[in-house]
Symmetry: C2
Subunit: 495 residues, 2 copies
């Protein structure tokens, strides 16, 4: 342990001790500073969070108001329209109008949700951060009080160590001094005994008497010094024992403070901090996730309406809206002239042969026309399919615009690429219009052909009935009327 | 069919026909008006959609800018702090600071996403609506051209019906007139034959001659009228046949127009409309869904950071940040005085008995203290658990604020109920602080007790070693030193 070659002086030992204690004191002060600084940083962080959410609440409120205004502006516009009145009445809207109303509804929903978000920030999240800040400060004060007590205890222990060490030094010094005095007495005694060992005949009687009293004196002094030494030696042992015990206790206390108590002090500062922060942030997350869910629900409603964008049912609704315009007119009836009692085609002689010839001509002409028109129809339908393919191309996925893994700068530039700045779009549109042009040309051709066929077919069928089943002509006329009977028209147009 | 009691006059029939045609004409005009109106409504709807998305793009841009400013403001503030420098350096942040940075990141992400949304509205969605509007107008024009042709065809058919009906009337009238003239001739002939049946002897020769030439004349006239009648009768039959055939063709054409062609005309107007609208709205939906996904990803990152809000690891980091303050100091060593060669507790006579007594006293006092302090510890821990339960209460679900099924008015009022306006909150906080107060009192008591125990235990253990294993005292001192060896401290504090 200590160098045996050179003993440390008392002052040296004390100085070493004091420097060690000074270092510990400095550490204790530093520890408090660190905890205080930590608390200040927490309070600052919580203040930042409050400011942040206050500002974000403002932004959300603005956003909400703007969305509300937007929805209101268009709602007000549509509220007066015929569509809207119909909407109110039977909810049976044209599918694009339905999408439009749902779009406005979605904006209102978003408006409401962002207002709610703002409200939750202001009246819940921010309040939580405020309370956590209060709590942190309070916990730090509590921890400081406990630290103060622990530091005092530690100082007491260190002071005690100082005291017992000094006591040990003192008693040990006294013990050494008593030992050296005893040794001196022993030396004197030896000297005296050595002298009395000299040849007796040389010594005078007085001298002999003098010497005896001197030996006695030395012996007495030695005994006294022996007692003193033993007493001091015991005191020194006890003081050393006390020093060693106190040293053990001190090291244990210091160890306990640094390893356990310091950790407890930090725990005191932390008490509830992480858990409360967790809850405050989870409130924020709950609000955001719920906003998202609501938004998603709204979008799903719109998506459903988009799925139901359907020309067929809209056409049905459109025609039902204007029954006067689209209801087929009455059939033209045969108007018999001046009591003419014949009201069907006469196929007797002399017209029979002529009618038969006409019938045969119609038949062959119709066959040709039908073949020709079937070709036109096929071309028309194929062209229509091409257009359908063009207008149903799935070019609406914009997910690549929202890739956050890319660098910040590249996000914006990709947006415009996705749909319109592609040169192919203009080309695509030109191509589409060209196809349309061709389609309409073919459609007109087809309609022209089919109109002619309809007319000739009607004549052909009537002639066929007349010539083939002359005796049942009356019945056939009745059947012809059935072709456009109200019940059929009803089936085609709805009621 | 026609009333047999009274014949309709020609004029009546023509008037009826004309009114029926007029009605059809009016319907055709009305149909075009309806289609035009539908197109106008579409164009208006598409204009509204464009205005709507233009305005919403503005709102999104504003929102994005405000969020960007918000993030930038706090980013700039934190960029200069020590935390941030550490963040840049080793990404090893205190868990609450990590949450804070991720919160700012989320705002930047939202800012970017809403800017992207705005961009997609302006450069993609709106352009689509513009094109659909153009397309609708073009389709309507095409449809109108076709309608014009179909209407002309229909009018031609109706005119033809008029013509053949008039022809029938004319020939039938002529046939009737020829018939009546024939009948008149027949009547005259009968009269003449009746006269020539008179007794011949009464008639003079000249008279007889005169009568014979008159009969011949009447016969010739009758023949002529018979021929005329037959001719007119045939013409009339042919005209009626033509009328009936044309009537059949007309009804078939009208039927075809109303049932098929009208539908085709509407289809022409609709061509691509629903499909293109579908794609435009799907582009909007794709943008919104992607924004949502991105937002959700960001929130998940924050949630993960909130899950990792952890006092233990933060304490570790905190102490590592300030090693000078938290590193345990050197052990206090035994300082032997003036070459004192004994450096351990002496348990020889005469101190042995005293030390033994002291050891026993320490032992019994420690036993009592430990029992007492164990009780305090239990109370402290139970109180801490109560506080932990209080600060980890799951009171952060705000989903009820986002219930859209409720009426609009009730949404707002529920928000404030969820967390802070509940009177229980103040009570809860007061209760929590009271519990804290008690906890800290108990903690101080426990620490005081444990500090005393530590000191006494250290002395007790040293005495036990000294008295029990006096011969191995030197070795024990070495072992005692081991208790606070650097390697152990290192294990506790980290390096």
């Amino acid at each position: 342990m200590s160098t045996p070659s050179r003993f440390k002086k008392d002052k040296e030992i004390i100085a070493e001790y004091e420097s060690q204690v000074k270092e510990i004191r400095a550490q204790l002060v530093e520890q408090q500073k660190c905890l205080e600084q930590q608390t200040e940083m927490r309070v600052q962080l919580l203040q930042d969070l409050q400011d942040f959410f206050r500002k974000k609440a403002e932004i959300e409120t603005d956003y909400s108001r703007n969305l509300e205004k937007l929805a209101e502006r268009f709602m007000a516009k549509t509220r007066s329209t015929k569509d809207h009145q119909q909407y109110k009445k039977d909810q049976n809207l044209l599918s694009p109008v339905n999408c439009w109303y749902l779009l406005l509804n979605q904006v209102r929903r978003e408006s409401k949700d962002h207002a709610t978000l703002s409200d939750i920030y202001l009246n819940n999240v921010i309040m939580r951060f405020m309370q956590i800040s209060e709590d942190s400060t309070r916990m730090f004060k509590k921890s400081k009080e406990i630290a103060f007590q622990l530091h005092e205890d530690l100082m007491k222990v260190l002071n005690e160590l100082y005291t017992v060490m000094k006591t040990y030094h003192m008693y040990h010094a006294e013990s050494i001094s008593a030992e050296s005095k005893l040794k001196e007495a022993e030396k004197q005694e030896e000297k005296q005994i050595g002298r009395s060992g000299d040849p007796v005949f040389h010594i005078r009687l007085e001298e002999r008497h003098q010497r005896r009293s001197s030996v006695k004196k030395i012996e007495k002094m030695k005994e006294k010094r022996q007692a003193k030494y033993s007493e001091n030696k015991l005191k020194s042992i006890k003081a050393r024992n006390e020093y060693l015990l106190t040293l053990e206790a001190t090291n244990a206390s210091v160890f306990k403070y640094y390893i356990h108590d310091l950790s407890d002090l930090i725990d005191c500062c932390d008490l509830g901090y992480h858990a409360s922060l967790n809850r405050a942030l989870r409130t924020y997350l709950s609000a955001e996730y719920n906003l998202e869910t609501s938004r998603h629900e709204g979008l799903d409603i719109i998506e459903n309406a988009v799925d139901n964008l359907e020309p067929r049912s809209d056409k049905q609704r459109f025609m039902e809206m204007y029954p006067a315009a689209f209801c087929p007119p009455m059939k033209f009836e045969f108007q018999s002239h001046m009591g003419d009692e014949v009201c069907q085609v006469s196929a007797q002689q002399p017209v029979q042969a002529e009618l038969m010839l006409r019938y045969q001509q119609l038949q062959s002409r119709l066959a040709t026309l039908k073949i020709e028109n079937e070709e036109v129809k096929k071309t028309t339908e194929a062209t229509l399919q091409t257009i359908q393919d063009m207008v149903t191309i799935e070019d609406y996925d914009v997910s690549e615009c929202f890739q956050h893994s890319r660098s910040t700068e590249s996000v914006k530039s990709t947006v415009s690429e996705t749909y319109l700045s592609k040169p192919s779009i203009a080309k695509r549109r030109a191509n589409q219009q060209e196809t349309e042009q061709f389609y309409f040309m073919k459609l007109r051709e087809y309609l022209e052909g089919s109109n002619l066929i309809t007319k000739l077919q009607a004549k052909h069928d009537l002639l066929q009935r007349t010539l083939g089943e002359g005796h049942r002509a009356e019945y056939m006329t009745t059947r012809t009327q059935d072709r456009s009977s109200p019940s059929l028209w009803k089936a085609v147009f709805g009621s």
